[in-house]
Symmetry: C2
Subunit: 575 residues, 2 copies
Amino acid sequence: MGAESYTGRINRKLNKKLRIVEVAAGREKADLVLKNATYVNVFSNQLCCGDIAVAEGLIVGMGEYRGEIELDMSGKIVLPGFIDAHIHLESAMVSPKEFAKAVLPHGTTTVITDPHEIANVMGTDGVEYMLQATEDLPVDVRFMLPSCVPSTPMDESGAVLDYRTIDSFYDHPRVQGLAEMMNYPGVIGADPQVIEKIVAAQAHHKKIDGHAPGLVGNDLNAYIAAGVYSDHECFDPADAIAKLERGQFIMIREGTAAHNLEALLPLLTPQYADRCMFCCDDKHPSDLLEKGHIDFNVREAIRQGVDPIVAVKVACHHAARYFLLNNRGAIAPGYLADFAVIDNFQDFNILQVFKKGVEMYDGTSVRDFPAPEIDPYLSQKAHDTFHLARLTAEDFAERRPRGIIGMVPGELVTTDQGYSDRIDTGWDILKIAVIERHKNTHHIGIGYLQGYGLKGGAVATSVSHDSHNIIVVGTNEEDMAAAANRVAENKGGIVVLENGQIKGEVALAIAGLMSDDTLENVNRDLEAAKDAAFALGVSRDIDPFMTLSFMSLPVIPTLRLTTRGVIDVEKQQYI
Amino acid sequence: MGAESYTGRINRKLNKKLRIVEVAAGREKADLVLKNATYVNVFSNQLCCGDIAVAEGLIVGMGEYRGEIELDMSGKIVLPGFIDAHIHLESAMVSPKEFAKAVLPHGTTTVITDPHEIANVMGTDGVEYMLQATEDLPVDVRFMLPSCVPSTPMDESGAVLDYRTIDSFYDHPRVQGLAEMMNYPGVIGADPQVIEKIVAAQAHHKKIDGHAPGLVGNDLNAYIAAGVYSDHECFDPADAIAKLERGQFIMIREGTAAHNLEALLPLLTPQYADRCMFCCDDKHPSDLLEKGHIDFNVREAIRQGVDPIVAVKVACHHAARYFLLNNRGAIAPGYLADFAVIDNFQDFNILQVFKKGVEMYDGTSVRDFPAPEIDPYLSQKAHDTFHLARLTAEDFAERRPRGIIGMVPGELVTTDQGYSDRIDTGWDILKIAVIERHKNTHHIGIGYLQGYGLKGGAVATSVSHDSHNIIVVGTNEEDMAAAANRVAENKGGIVVLENGQIKGEVALAIAGLMSDDTLENVNRDLEAAKDAAFALGVSRDIDPFMTLSFMSLPVIPTLRLTTRGVIDVEKQQYI
């Protein structure tokens, strides 16, 4: 469509609205009628019955209607489509289109994403890439702008985003606000460069999401008074209630890395539930394919005794109101015709899913839809994010003692295991390196890693929080160089290699984070690569790639490795 | 303040925010601390205890704080300031400053007004006048733009507002949306000129209020699907629930003309209360002085058994969320320091009221505050809205038979009482006229009125819904002319007159609707004028001016009188 005047826009919307009124009043046939539907009414907090009429992608009325298409809903329950309140789409390791295909069968029709990972690689081009890659998908993808790129000044990321850099994105119709303000010490300490990001988001009347694990008392007051409206890091009810009673909305997180649903079920009562929503934060391929998405949270909550109406509202209505997406999250006239149809609350099987009145999932397969068009220049740029020289074993040679980072099974925290000056697989002491890959600086940080278990070869990954440089861990420098070089050749991804032979790999050519392949193929490659890593000795109680990917994040205690060496996180000093 | 760049604005807000964080974190003293406060927490739905710290007009934290001013709140209960969700400020017959002085002692800190009355007189200049007259008042006055000016094409108002005429006002920071869409037949009938007003409001991401008494079924679906988000005309729970369960927010109205609180108390339960708020629609001087404002609703609701926390939330939090005024309606960090302090829930006496952290009412008197500056051109224009020639008895001479409008005590509906060709006080048949006063057209509609009771003289008023022409009713044409002329001389208001002698009068020189005098003086004059009307025989069971003012509103059955004659409202025909 070409340029459109304001009057032209009003006229276009007027014509659509006139048709909606004609259908709602019963003078014209609806596009679609869900006949004899039992549906959750989020306003009167009960199940209602009747026909649900749809025109122009919107619900126009409930009662008695005739439609061009009429589908009998007897014996089923119709729910508003689900909303994931906070996810980094990149965590699915596939394109947004593939992600949408994966979550539609689970009833998800809206997600709020923070394109934080790709922004660390490509800056605002990464945000724009994701906006274009999600345009008109049958899952509505809304954005929160990354607030902390890089995670700390110690990180060497592909970009630095200050408030001016991201400001113009607030005008985009799918941008809802500023994403998780992870730098809570900066907020509480009144760092102007941190606070001004919040001030700018507020000036645009946008939401600001929070990330403040365990923050309490007057520091929590300061963080909230600064303008942070939500939190998704709550791990127990006391933590959540302290935030909720100060006005924050609580996103109950159940994802691949963090599992807070069970602990936070006590929030899902009439006293607190209005201020709660669901999110997953991150969701890896196998998790998406095996566990599902927001439907998993609702099903689990109901099984553990939560009132089904409350659980459904937490899965849709509350997030919609928080993000001011006031045309969804309910079944009522004027709302988007986004539905998840289930068999019953106990089994909670998703039978059909509709997006804007179109059946996108029929219980068997997802209706095909076009991939969004992406500016070729931007697409090319997203596929060319590795800027580093070819590596040799010499690059990883290091005689001086370096800190040993201790991995803890099932946790993201690490321990300080002292120093080493050599690899010793007998003591499970491996060499680990982080290689700057954005600006060809040839910065390579070297340290040692204990607890990973590798007995031969090397493992490398370009998914490495938050700057997404290349992390490589190995039993010898030759394989480390070969694995890292192979990652760069693939334009990103994961490589497991021994004696120069590739044992498993996943190519992630979009910014080194996402694949152009299908979710099923990525999952197959990823599982095969995991098996290869386990075969080389990696401990079975560690996720070989996810756990590794956090070794470079210098904001979680105790020791981490950046492109400049091993850091003591609490002291924010190199050791 | 001169022009300010975006960067300048961010910097200014940043400096304020940095101080807020310093105070919240406890590193600087607060401006004000309410010590040992018991306060309603609208998020956890309970009473909480602690200090409430205020800086820069905002609440910064609850807990333990020190402040420049510390006020002990022991034994009192602190509530968020109240919000009136829908009022025509003009109904108070005083300037907005006087209105603010009147409602502050009742705990009101925000009102949403529809400047519908003045807009019928002055068009967009009237809207602009009210915006200027409310700037920076200690009661935050927010606006909904009038949607139905004139009320019908049969009316001769001072202005006609289509969507383009009001469009630029949506950019004003205190405009929240489009006011009550009274023309619900136009919406349901898909009248493009009606629907485009809704479409334009939605294009600006604004709210649209409703007004649809008794609407049900698919017509109600059509009205809501068109984009109307609330209703304040509900008179019984069934009517309200039908709207609520279709997604409308319900404004429970308790004002001077309509009393719906008691009937709608069943809504104030956990099942429905989240979608309810309070409003008064109109509030006359004596009512404001004697009954109070939103505090009256809360007190009554609690006395009739509503949970006090629920009643308080309905009085503040829900309206704030509906209107997207997300910085008020709660006591929490980042929220406006707007408080109503009471003694206890049962007596519900307002002891103190704070606006943005300033004590505006101390239990005895209202702190003085400046009157907003109004553009002199606009002020002059508002005081010069009577454009008509001097009237004589001849103007009211009429030999042909005219319809008789029957007044019904305590109701706004009228009855069809046949025809008359003369005044006959023995049968209580009076002459009534509506005189066009905006454009000097000399249009005068003449009819007869039964049930008013006047035995001598005439009563005239320029408060005459919705076009605010002059209504005059009398026992003889000479007094009718004199009373109407006196209204015009006073530049508007109410006149009671007999044999050329003024028996009582209220000057309403601002657009013929509001006085420049104090509320107390206006009330004194108004009560004296009422007594004068009663002394001249007006029935004691009729409000002599309010009931009269509705005789010209051609949207309420059965008969009405406009500048062109008596109308049968249901047929929309002159009789």
